[in-house]
């Protein structure tokens, strides 16, 4: 979800472009959830 309503108009909210060193470290040190990714990528999706 990256949309919001401001002054009765829909606005697009972008992720932060500047991160602190601490935030970068948190992002980089987050472990990959292999179980979740394996479950998500092993399913066959019928994209048309």
């Amino acid at each position: 979800m990256a949309l919001a309503i401001k002054d009765d108009k829909v606005i697009y909210v972008a992720p932060p472009k500047k991160l602190t060193a601490k935030e970068k470290k948190i992002l980089e040190n987050t472990p990959v959830n292999h179980k979740l990714i394996k479950r998500a990528t092993s399913r066959k999706y019928n994209v048309v």
Binding site: M1, A2, P15, P16, E23, A40, T41, Y45
Partner: protein, 159 residues
């Protein structure tokens, strides 16, 4: 038959918003339903541009939900952003056998992970990111596997 109908700038017509809006049931709460309509209209306009892709999850003629994705970045890290996730009112909170006994929201999030992993192979994406609409949704997404960036409202899954 379960399918994810993909809309991009190449195949989205000017009628996309009308067609999508007519296929879904909104929240019973009037204010919330108006927000949902505004967001979906906006997303359908964004799909006319190359940056946003919309997927409509359908089971035969029933629309279960929508997910809109765009490539973005969080800090310097390339990411796939979930611009909007909508679940048809009558399917909210329900697990469905046709979705591998998942809720529609979980199925669509996991589909977004699949898309992100495909793009990762060619563009080096690092994260799937989203900004929850409210605090209640933040907890729902955390339960699905998203992590929180402290002091930011953005949530992410490392790919």
């Amino acid at each position: 038959m379960l399918e994810l109908k993909k809309y991009t700038s190449r195949n989205a017509s000017y009628r996309l918003g009308i067609d999508v809006l007519s296929s879904i049931e909104f929240s019973e709460d009037l204010e919330q339903s108006q927000r949902e309509k505004h967001f979906i209209e906006d997303i359908c306009k964004r799909v006319q541009k190359p940056s946003t892709v919309l997927y409509q999850l359908k089971n035969n003629d029933d629309t279960l939900g929508l997910i809109a994705l765009s490539v973005s970045s969080i800090g310097e890290f390339p990411s796939l952003q979930i611009d909007y996730l909508f679940i048809n009112c009558s399917y909210r909170g329900k697990t469905l056998a046709i979705l591998d006994n998942l809720k529609t929201s979980t199925y669509l999030i996991e589909f977004a992970i699949e898309v992100a992993k495909e793009i990762q192979e060619i563009a080096g994406l690092r994260y799937l990111v989203l900004l929850p609409d409210n605090d209640k949704l933040q907890n729902v997404y955390k339960h699905m596997g998203f992590s929180t960036l402290p002091k930011q409202n953005w949530l992410y899954i490392k790919l």
